[in-house]
Amino acid sequence: MAKLKYTPLNLARWIVWGSTALVMIVLPLVFTEGFTLTLMSQIGIGIIFALSYNMLLGQGGMLSFGHAVYSGLGAYFAAHALNFISKGSLVLPVALLPLIGGLAGLLFGVIFGYVTTKKSGTTFAMISLGIGEMVAACSLMFPGFFGGEAGITTNRVTGQPFLGITYGPAIQVYYLIVGWALVCMAAMFAWTQTPLGRMANAVRDNPERAAFIGYDTHMVRFLTLVLSAFFAGIAGGLSCINYEIVTAENVGALRSASVLIATFIGGAGFFFGPIIGTIVFFVMFTAVGAVTQAWLFYTGLLFLIMVLYAPGGFASLILMHVPVMKARLMRRLWLPYAAAAATGLVLLAGLVTVVEITYRYTLEASTAPAMKLFGFEFNVTDTLPWAVGFGLLTGGFIVSLLAWKAVGRAWGDIIHIMQQHSA
């Protein structure tokens, strides 16, 4: 059993936070293309959003299907505030605009949260879905506030530049996002170490016991949701600055589903899980989305595989190797892992081939049957690419099964050895 020791100045923790900050600051100097800056800005905002979502899902055990309500309404309020700033009827530095988003998120957290958090479990999930749909419908019913289908456009370059910072260039916005992301990450981590944060875990695990040690479980869930909505609103405010437009999409079900998927893929059971999940999700979205329309299909497939085979997310997959590394047994895993990776690539190549030619065949077979994949040019109306695709898929599947059996055996041996050592 791992011993968790409390030390006032946890050195490892400072190293982790310090290097995270350093990476976020240095990254734009390494990747200088506009494309990567856009991606990194999205990830920065997404991390705040996903961590706020995980206050509910991971720490509070509340499965929400409507978290975009809080980030989206935060974004709308921030957009209106920014337009007021431009008109001169509001004085506020643009850098503090996310705070408007956060306060709006908090306000709606108080209004909606009181109802949603009355019950936990399935009831909570259903009500969150209902409120999400309700707000999405309102976005079209009240065009004055929501701007109808076109949404609300705004301009982040306003007021006097401060030390030459106008937030015109994307790099300045990126650093604003980094600043907010670091503050929010630290604040949300700190929250997990407070009485309310711990009682959120307690209410998640055993609401009845929590009640019999003096806690109103409704109040614990409610306050957790309100704080979570505050951070979601900050993410919304940042997205308003970043995109200079807020539309109904910002409060929509797709956005709510995305944050659920990203959080789950990363690992809801760990504080840093949603950070990994957000990076994976946006790389899928941007990098894979740039080359294929089928990116959502691949994301869905990844989600499915994670739910079935790694419900603890990438975070748990990483952490399960820590004791193996400590026991110096990793060498037993390299060979099976290499085999699994190689066979997995064959399977993936087959899958991608079949999916891509299917997309092209069903959507554009008559107009553009010629396509290029993995450097090969062919017509989707020919038989050969289909045969190759299904061949790779089937062959890859069979060899993958064998490789995963080897992985399973290696893990079995390792667990056996570690148990003998501890006994």
């Binding site: 059993m1 307690a202 009845e208």
Partner: protein
């Protein structure tokens, strides 16, 4: 001396079935009181009524002279009543230390605070260490509650119950399922943690009951047929017929 707990004509029905049929009981402050009775007599139901887990169908329950009828469990707990459960009811995914620290937070006034750092709460951490010492789980401080042995989990159940410093403690079958030596340890633990407090317990083990209790109430079919000091209960004809007789020389 005023009563820590007083029940006045308390009834409870589930549908048409009356489980508790008019219970009157006054337990003075500082008494160790045991409730015994055959299976299905309604002992656990009575506990669930007193602690607010179920609402009463009729009657009144007073805690230190103040009515707590209709209050919810967390409200009753804040007024100084804490209970344990027959089936261990702890935070399985938290360490022993975290379990107990959670249980002291409200009583020390930290409530829903998100502006205190748990690691910096000297009083809460100290109190948690004291309780761990008292229940003999100091060595298991950082072990997850879910992987403790059964007897250790039962001890933790008592620890979580008493940690908040409640004046009135309800223990629901604290020694159920324990071996003889584990039971002896549990009796000593209960004696220690209930000093200067009011203790009410439901218990099947007559050795434990006669060893610990100042007074015993016998509950049969939702009614208290006798409430007296142990030696009088032992000699009570009605009790022997209704209860002790059925379990022989237990």
């Amino acid at each position: 001396m005023s009563s820590a707990i007083e029940l006045k004509g308390v009834t409870k029905s589930f549908g048409n079935t009356a489980i508790i049929r008019g219970v009157d009981l006054a337990i003075p402050q500082g008494e160790r009181h045991a409730i015994i009775g055959p299976n299905g007599a309604g002992k656990s139901t009575l506990f669930n009524l007193i602690s607010g887990r179920y609402p009463v169908s009729g009657g009144d329950i007073l805690l230190n002279g103040e009515s707590v009828t209709g209050l919810r469990p967390f409200e009753i707990n804040r007024k100084g009543l804490s209970r344990s459960f027959q089936v261990t009811n702890i935070f399985q995914r938290m360490s022993v230390f975290e379990n107990i620290r959670c249980a002291v937070l409200w009583s020390l006034g930290y409530k829903y605070s998100f502006w205190h750092r748990l690691g910096g709460l000297k009083d809460a951490n100290l109190r948690a260490e004291e309780v761990m010492e008292a229940i003999g789980l100091k060595r298991r401080r950082d072990t997850f509650a879910g992987v403790l042995t059964y007897a250790e989990q039962r001890a933790l159940e008592i620890g979580v119950t008493i940690a908040g410093g409640a004046e009135v403690i309800l223990l629901d079958e604290p020694t159920a399922g324990m071996s003889r030596s584990e039971t002896a340890d549990a009796v000593e633990l209960i004696r220690k943690v209930s000093q200067r407090k009011t203790l009410i317990m439901v218990e099947h083990d007559m050795g434990v009951v006669f060893n610990l209790a100042d007074r015993i109430s016998v509950l049969v079919y939702g009614e208290i047929i006798a409430s007296d000091v142990p030696q009088n209960i032992r000699g009570n004809q009605a009790v022997q017929e209704a209860y002790l007789g059925t379990e022989g020389g237990a």
